[in-house]
């Protein structure tokens, strides 16, 4: 999708990781925007921690059902062929390696594939919810994040300084400026957003990274 920038570009790029029929968990906010950019012919089984396989669109207020809610307690729907299960089964899907991919927002991520997105000690402590289980059990952990904090500080670090949500689990990092794959030996810059150069990314990224032989344009 040409012409996208910012968070829309992040969501669209993340959506391109998915194949038809993938079983995917999307975090609230930016990650959930991925459903708006799925490639033609790609339908997903969306997982909700509360116990839904096949979450559908948010229902209108006339169609809400107090017995059908999503992980955030908001009205939910189930697609044709979708199912509900109890919460232990939901996490058997997640922790048992049955979910193909999860897209998570973050506070920090680092070049070793560590992610810190659940607490800032003394300031922010909503709880980790299901994020640690996703990090422990899902095959592909895609971090979808602004490249920098509002202050301009890089969110992609050599080493996370906040308490970790998951260790050595992140496989991909997508920002509005570029896409990094997390390889065995560190980050590999694979794609650049239109208008950015490798030097631009070096200037705004604390983490070390190598540059792929062939670098693509992020879309």
């Amino acid at each position: 999708m040409a012409g996208l920038t910012g968070r829309a570009l992040i969501a669209a790029r993340c959506a391109r990781f998915f194949k038809d029929g993938d079983f995917v968990n999307l975090g609230i906010g930016l990650p959930l925007m991925c459903v708006n950019y799925l490639p033609e012919g790609v339908d997903l089984w969306l997982e909700a921690e509360i116990g839904i396989v096949g979450c559908g669109a948010t229902p209108s207020w006339d169609d809400v059902d107090p017995d059908l809610i999503d992980a955030g307690g908001q009205p939910a729907s189930v697609i044709k062929g979708g199912s509900v299960c109890d919460h232990t089964t939901s996490f058997a899907y997640i922790r048992g390696g049955h979910v193909d991919a999860a897209v998570l927002g973050t506070l920090q991520v680092d070049q070793e594939g560590n992610i810190a997105n659940w607490t800032i000690p003394g300031k922010l402590a909503p709880g980790m919810g299901g994020a640690m289980d996703l990090c422990a059990g899902v095959k592909k952990i895609i971090v979808a994040t602004d490249h920098c904090e509002k202050s301009g500080r890089s969110k992609i670090l050599k080493k996370c300084t906040l308490p970790l949500t998951g260790a050595n689990c992140v496989t991909d990092i997508v920002t509005e400026r570029c896409y990094f794959e997390v390889g065995e030996d560190g980050l590999i810059l694979r794609e650049l957003a239109a208008g950015y150069t490798v030097e631009d990314i070096r200037a705004c990224t604390e983490a070390d990274f190598t540059v792929a032989d062939e670098i693509g344009t992020m879309e």
């Binding site: 307690g73 509900v84 709880g127 980790m128 640690m132 308490p163 970790l164």
Partner: protein, 239 residues
């Protein structure tokens, strides 16, 4: 078969100060709301609560937190209850954060006679502090211990008079496994049916597990305050 159907006064005889209470719910939704109102009115306090979240200030367990009835909370998330957050930072509410899959499995262990479970969740994070770590086939796991309560407060859709219960849609969430993990299990339902009306494969939790059945007297499926506000806002925006 003996009927387990009771009124609210009989339910409240099972509660006293200082108990560990499990609340089947989700952010305070899908919860035994009328019994919680009863707990508030009876003045039950010093509760050690176990619930997947801190509820909302005007919904479920959150209402007990707002009234300072809860002294500790084993949970996964309190993001929808700013009062719980403030009490935690002020040192008034002792919060133990547990990863959500581990929370579910610890309670399942508590109800299934297991001495704990081994999970990879939390390895390499602060969650592993103070826990035994075991390596099985080259992979590290944390030993997580069972959770059990004095009373479990369960919400279901239907019950028969013997105590068989049935959930509806996401209403099963945490209610299903918490029903196994307490000395006394009380279920609040919307509808009561005769024994035999729920067939063998329609029963989610079997009668022997349930101690008391309380049938809602108010609205069967109220829309929670958070939804009511969002709906009013959406409709106001259209005008």
């Amino acid at each position: 078969m003996r009927s387990k159907v009771v009124n609210l006064q009989e339910v409240l005889t099972k509660f006293q100060d200082g108990q560990t209470i499990m609340f089947g719910d989700w952010h305070g939704e899908l919860s035994a709301e009328e019994i919680i109102t009863g707990l508030l009115e009876k003045g039950v306090k010093d509760i050690d609560a176990i619930a997947v979240s801190g509820g909302m200030p005007d919904q479920g367990l959150g209402r007990l937190i707002v009234e300072h009835r809860v002294k500790s909370l084993a949970t996964t998330h309190i993001g929808l209850n700013p009062v719980a957050r403030d009490q935690m930072f002020a040192g008034e509410l002792d919060v133990e954060f547990i990863p959500q899959g581990t929370f579910a499995e610890r309670i399942r262990c508590g109800g299934a006679g297991l001495g704990g479970c081994l999970t990879p969740t939390g390895v390499g994070t602060d969650v592993e502090k103070g826990k035994q770590k075991l390596t099985i086939d080259g992979k590290e796991y944390l030993l997580e211990l069972p959770l059990h309560a004095d009373v479990a407060l369960i919400k279901a859709w239907k019950a028969d008079t013997a105590g068989n219960i049935k959930f509806r849609l996401t209403g099963r969430a945490t209610n299903s496994y918490m029903a196994f993990a307490a000395d006394t299990v009380i279920v609040e339902v919307e509808e009561l049916v005769e024994v035999g009306e729920l067939g063998p494969d329609e029963i989610d939790v079997a009668a022997p597990i349930i101690d008391m059945v309380y049938v809602r007297t108010g609205e069967k499926k109220p829309i929670c305050p958070m939804w009511q506000r969002a709906k009013a806002k959406a409709e106001g925006g259209k005008k």
